[in-house]
């Protein structure tokens, strides 16, 4: 079984006495994501304090918990939008932003970071489509310039994806002409165009009108069914979490307080904090 949070180490942050290579799960496969003793501070506020956890390939993990508990921080660390103050993050066994060399925690050079970052994709709460490009151009930009596809190849893939998310007719539209739900679907297509191994979904329906949420979730359900992309999801949509994920992690103050499969988590949570939280969110 994947590990849960270990009790807080006495070691100061910045040095990790733990092994420098990835641990393996029971199946013997290298985990898709592994956090080892990750520390993240914002000013005086320590959001993550020596967090350990791992995600296997193909896992669909939902992170739940109150705001400020660290769930979004984990996603942002995985996308290198933030940098950890301590500890190591491994993707497919490769160190991401920092590694241990000669017993010391050092930064990984940008070139190697990019190679790892390429395997990770993210969909944002605020969509963040590029307004100066059309829908199609948004989707082909990175495949062309980062993956080196020709315009023709990238366009074919983009059109496939647009079809999949149901927006084939909007290919030449300006992004600002689309509704929120349409923009988010384009954002999903844009992330998928990079063929990521890991997809991070950061409250992707929180900024949408309730009627629109179902469309976007439908697209994500299809992605979950038709691919084996590892997904890390932060969401308030509990039904969606139940449908799509195989693991749910409850976070509080930067630690995993409970972990289970969705059925168990939502129907019979054991930890007090989880019960409190679910009661508040689901109005049990």
């Amino acid at each position: 079984m994947p590990e849960t949070t270990a009790p807080r180490d006495a070691a100061p942050s910045g040095t990790v006495p733990a092994p420098a290579r990835a641990t393996t799960t029971v199946q013997g496969a290298v985990p898709a994501i592994e956090f080892q003793g990750v520390v993240k501070r914002f000013g005086d506020n320590t959001v993550l304090d020596g967090l350990d956890f791992s995600v296997a390939k193909g896992d669909r993990v939902t992170l739940i918990g109150p705001s400020g508990s660290g769930k979004t921080t984990i996603l942002r660390l995985l996308m290198t939008l933030e940098e950890a103050d301590g500890g190591i993050i491994l993707v497919d066994g490769d160190p991401y932003t920092h590694e241990i060399r000669g017993g010391k925690r050092v930064e990984v050079p940008e070139k190697r970071r990019r190679a790892v970052r390429r395997r990770v994709g993210m969909v944002f709460q605020q969509f963040n489509l590029f307004p100066n490009m059309s829908v199609l151009e948004n989707i082909i930009e990175a495949p062309m310039h980062v993956l080196g596809l020709t315009r023709a190849q990238a366009t074919v893939r983009a059109e496939e994806l647009l079809d999949q998310v149901g927006l084939a007719d909007k290919r030449d539209a300006r992004c600002t002409q689309l509704s929120g739900g349409q923009q988010q679907r384009v954002a999903i297509a844009r992330a998928l165009a990079m063929d990521p191994e890991i997809l991070l979904l950061d409250e992707v329906t929180s900024a949408l009108d309730p009627e629109i949420v179902a469309d976007v979730l439908g697209v994500l359900r299809e992605v979950a069914e038709t691919t084996d992309i590892t997904m890390l999801i932060v969401t308030h949509e509990m039904q969606f979490a139940r449908d799509v994920s195989n693991r749910v992690l409850m976070f509080d103050h930067g630690r995993i307080v409970e972990e289970a499969d969705p059925e168990t988590m939502f129907t019979s949570p054991t930890h007090e904090r989880t019960q409190e939280f679910l009661r508040a969110v689901l109005g049990d």
Partner: protein, 242 residues
């Protein structure tokens, strides 16, 4: 008055020449200023102090020393060091350096004003820093910059009037010529000021058109044709249900 007007009419070719010189100074200086503004503005944001330091120094240096001093320094002092420059080049260089430095602050501020989410989306797609700047950030910063750059452009136009004193026959020079032929200070200077006003107005219109186009490219405004109502608004891809 009719005497003045007929003298003016006869002098129109020379006014035309003066306008050409003023425009050469203004547009040449503006082009140089834009290039410098981009270089220095981007340099001021660089991670490495080796780039950031000199950029900020150059910006503060040319902002802090007066345009008049810069122009006359280039005209009188540079030859001493062995560089002979003709007046027009002097003028364009001084205007470009001075207003390029002011422009650098505008560029820097506009780039910082592009929403954080855009930077993050570019990172998520693993776009390299140069690519991100070129394809995502600058196109959006450009629309934000234009109003402030327009202000600087008009100031540049006003600064070009100094060129008379380095022996260029611009609009300002024409005013003196007109004054000598009509012996009417009020008339000549009013005409001259009106010419500058007209030039400022036309330049502002041009920049406004650029702004409309830039905003249109971002999908946040009507196209230039729609604004001018020259072409009918086509019934196309406007909005749509989820």
């Amino acid at each position: 008055m009719s005497d003045n007007l007929s003298t003016l009419r006869d002098a129109l070719p020379r006014l035309g020449e003066g306008v050409v010189v003023t425009l050469q100074l203004t547009l040449g200086g503006a082009a140089l200023a834009l290039v410098l503004a981009l270089l220095l503005g981007l340099g001021s944001r660089a991670g490495s102090l080796w780039v950031r330091g000199p950029s900020r120094f150059v910006v503060e240096f040319f902002r802090g020393t007066s345009l008049v001093v810069q122009l006359f320094w280039l005209f009188y002092v540079l030859p001493v060091f062995g560089f002979r420059m003709e007046s027009l080049a002097c003028g364009i260089l001084a205007l470009g350096l001075n207003y390029g430095a002011y422009g650098a602050e505008v560029v820097r501020g506009s780039i910082n004003a592009v929403p954080q989410g855009q930077w993050e989306a570019a990172t998520a797609l693993d776009l390299g820093p140069v690519h991100r700047l070129r394809r995502v950030i600058l196109p959006q910063a450009w629309a934000l910059m234009i109003p402030m750059l327009t202000n600087l452009l008009i100031q540049l136009l006003k600064g070009s009037a100094l060129a008379t004193y380095i022996l260029l026959h611009d609009v300002n020079y024409f005013i003196e010529q007109l004054r000598r032929s009509t012996q009417d200070t009020f008339f000549s200077y009013t005409v001259g000021l009106l010419v500058y006003f007209a030039l400022a107005y036309v330049l502002t219109l041009g920049m406004n058109a650029l702004e409309v186009r830039a905003k249109n490219r971002l999908g946040s405004g009507p196209s230039l044709r729609e604004v001018l109502r020259v072409a009918p608004v086509p019934a196309t891809t406007r909005g749509g249900a989820a």
